[in-house]
């Protein structure tokens, strides 16, 4: 009999049965759940249930990040209502406006841990898979169901294994690997699947880089994406007794539906878009395309290593005339670290604008909305038409280094060329 996949093990434990197989529907009890501004909708549905009491306020986390600080009076009222909700229900883990992005805080504050079942009312919940949790996105109404009952139906996913070998080349990053995978396998390439990253290259990828990979697996349709906990995970948690054994890993003879391979040496800096994530080409092919705005931030690429990459590219350079560079750290902690390490100074001195921690302009709500005919290169995860503003604007996706190089040149530019001039 074949062994069990990570997904099968975690969902069996969470649903209190000895074993489950891919394809089965289970009623699982999550270890941790979270929602953002859509807590407003969660609460609306929860109120309709007439239960009154939360299943377990200690397992619920609320983070305000999508429109922070409030972009208008309506949002301000939603934020106020959510502050009232957390008080009424005794939810202690509440992150108010300005603390950062939900997916960042869940990992950064060590709320997520290996082998947990984490459900977030946001599509990029997969990000927490970077530390070995089974994390997936759900809707607001079913979050209300969890608030009331502590359980939810989930289909046990099949597993796709992505093996990463080799070494990243100059100015290639985890983001480029993710775009490479999207180009190769498309926006449905991992539909409904549990993606497991494996291979020798993981040794060279930080928790931040692993978060990029798991986060972007969302765009391939994945249900969850994990990097099994290893020595990097343990040292990040500063614990030696973290579960890193068989209980949080697929068995070697588990059933794997698909196997993908990437040799990292073959991944150059890449650019995706506009409008379609899978429309990916090398930065050389895209170079010279005019941009109006460059944005670095989001749950995908707003971490310290991203801000440091931007700072390195910008040092001694200026944002091109008539262009805007906008940088939003993914959390307050990251912002403090980036201040202490001089990155924020370099960004601001080069002509960039630094936003408070949060989702920033990624979803077109505020803080850098695009006008008709404008082009943005962004370190975010989606370049759908109209996402950041006008239906007639365009979004390209790339790594923070490529975004920064493009801000300096005023058009899409190769960070390798820019840095090769540095002695």
């Amino acid at each position: 009999m074949a062994g069990r996949t990570f997904a099968e093990k975690i969902l069996a434990r969470a649903s209190g049965v000895p074993s489950v197989r891919a394809g089965e529907v289970v009623e699982a009890r999550p270890d941790l759940v979270f929602s953002h501004e859509n807590t407003f909708l969660v609460n609306k549905s929860f109120s309709e249930l007439g239960v009154g009491k939360l299943w377990d306020p200690d397992k619920i986390v609320i983070i305000l990040d999508h429109r922070t600080p409030a972009n208008n009076a309506q949002t301000a009222a939603v934020h106020s209502k959510i502050r009232e909700i957390v008080k009424t229900y005794g939810i202690k883990r509440f992150y108010d406006s300005g603390e950062g992005i939900c997916h960042q805080l869940i990992v950064e504050d060590r709320l997520a841990s290996p082998g947990q079942l984490i459900l977030g009312a946001d599509s990029h919940t997969l990000t927490a898979g970077a530390i070995g949790a089974f994390a997936t996105g759900i809707g607001a109404t079913e979050m209300a169901g969890i608030w009331a009952t502590g359980s939810i139906w989930l289909k046990v996913p099949e597993t796709v294994q992505i093996t990463l070998t080799g070494h990243l080349g100059k100015e290639s990053y985890a983001k480029d690997v993710a775009l490479h995978l999207l180009k190769k396998y498309g926006p449905s390439g991992a539909d409904y699947k549990s993606v497991e990253f494996t291979g020798s290259a993981l040794l060279e990828l930080s928790i931040s880089s692993r978060m990029v990979l798991c986060n972007m697996a969302t765009e391939m349709g994945a249900k969850t994406a994990i990097v099994p906990a290893d020595a990097t995970t343990s040292s990040w948690f500063q614990e030696t007794d973290l579960p890193t054994g068989d209980s949080v890993k697929s068995d070697h003879d588990a059933k794997i539906a698909d196997k993908f391979q990437v040799v990292l040496d073959d991944v150059p800096p890449l650019v995706s878009g506009p409008h379609k994530i899978e429309d990916v080409r090398s930065v050389e092919e895209a170079s010279g395309i005019h941009i109006d705005q460059a944005f670095v931030g989001t749950c995908t690429n707003g971490r310290l290593e991203d801000l440091m990459a931007v700072s390195r590219v910008l040092k001694g350079r200026k944002v091109a005339p008539g262009r805007r560079l906008i940088v939003a750290p993914a959390s307050r902690r990251i912002m403090i670290d980036a201040i202490e390490m001089g990155a924020i100074r370099n960004i601001v001195a080069s002509g960039g604008t630094v936003l408070p921690p949060g989702c920033g302009p990624c979803l077109g709500a505020h803080e850098g909305v695009l006008g008709p005919g404008e082009v943005c290169i962004s370190s975010s995860n989606r370049n759908f038409r109209g996402r950041m503003g006008s239906q007639d604007s365009e979004i390209y996706l790339a790594s923070p280094a490529t975004v920064a190089a493009s801000a300096v040149k005023g058009c899409i530019a190769d960070p390798r060329e820019m840095l090769s001039n540095d002695l």
């Binding site: 759900i138 079913e142 169901g145 449905s188 109209g386 239906q391």
Partner: protein
């Protein structure tokens, strides 16, 4: 139960920013959301859609964000069902949870065109043109989810379960 419906045909990878652009999400009023339904792909949809119309689409319908407002917008605009080759998983979950049938059909998007009048029978999983000349097979909704849909969504389903 058979109903007559008018078809709105869309392509592959219809994402949630097409269904309801992010800039409208700060107002949770269903009528406001419905007035911008599908604006990102067809700005005239919201003003022309009639109660009972169906959306027919290709692969990966509803990809992108987890925003439940995508389903709220379609439902309140009058859409009675979405029939697609495949669905993005959170959209699919949200549609079941809010009582909007999302039905898989490998051929509906090839067989039907925008403006077609069709007879839709969600109990016998059939869809055919008014004159009966064109048909598409609909995949049955999994039993567990059919119960939620029959209750009108997750909240009424849970309400009756919590009572008993």
């Amino acid at each position: 139960m058979t109903s007559n419906a008018r078809v709105w045909l869309f392509g592959d990878d219809v994402n949630t920013d097409m269904i309801i652009p992010g800039r409208y999400l700060d107002n949770y009023d269903p009528d406001h959301l419905a007035s911008h339904a599908m604006e990102g792909v067809d700005p005239e949809f919201a003003s022309k859609v009639s109660r009972g119309d169906v959306i027919v689409a290709g692969v990966n319908f509803g990809c992108g964000s987890s925003r439940e407002q995508a389903v709220i917008a379609l439902k309140h605009a009058g859409v009675q069902a979405v029939i697609a080759v495949s669905f993005a998983r959170i959209f699919y979950r949200n549609s079941v949870n809010l009582g909007l049938p999302s039905i898989v059909s490998s051929d509906a998007s090839r067989v039907f065109h925008s403006g077609d009048s069709v007879r839709l029978d969600l109990l016998s999983n059939s869809m055919e043109s008014e004159d009966g000349s064109r048909k598409a097979a609909l995949e049955p909704v999994p039993e567990y989810l059919a119960k939620i849909l029959e209750s009108g969504g997750l909240i009424p389903y849970l309400r009756s379960r919590l009572k008993s």
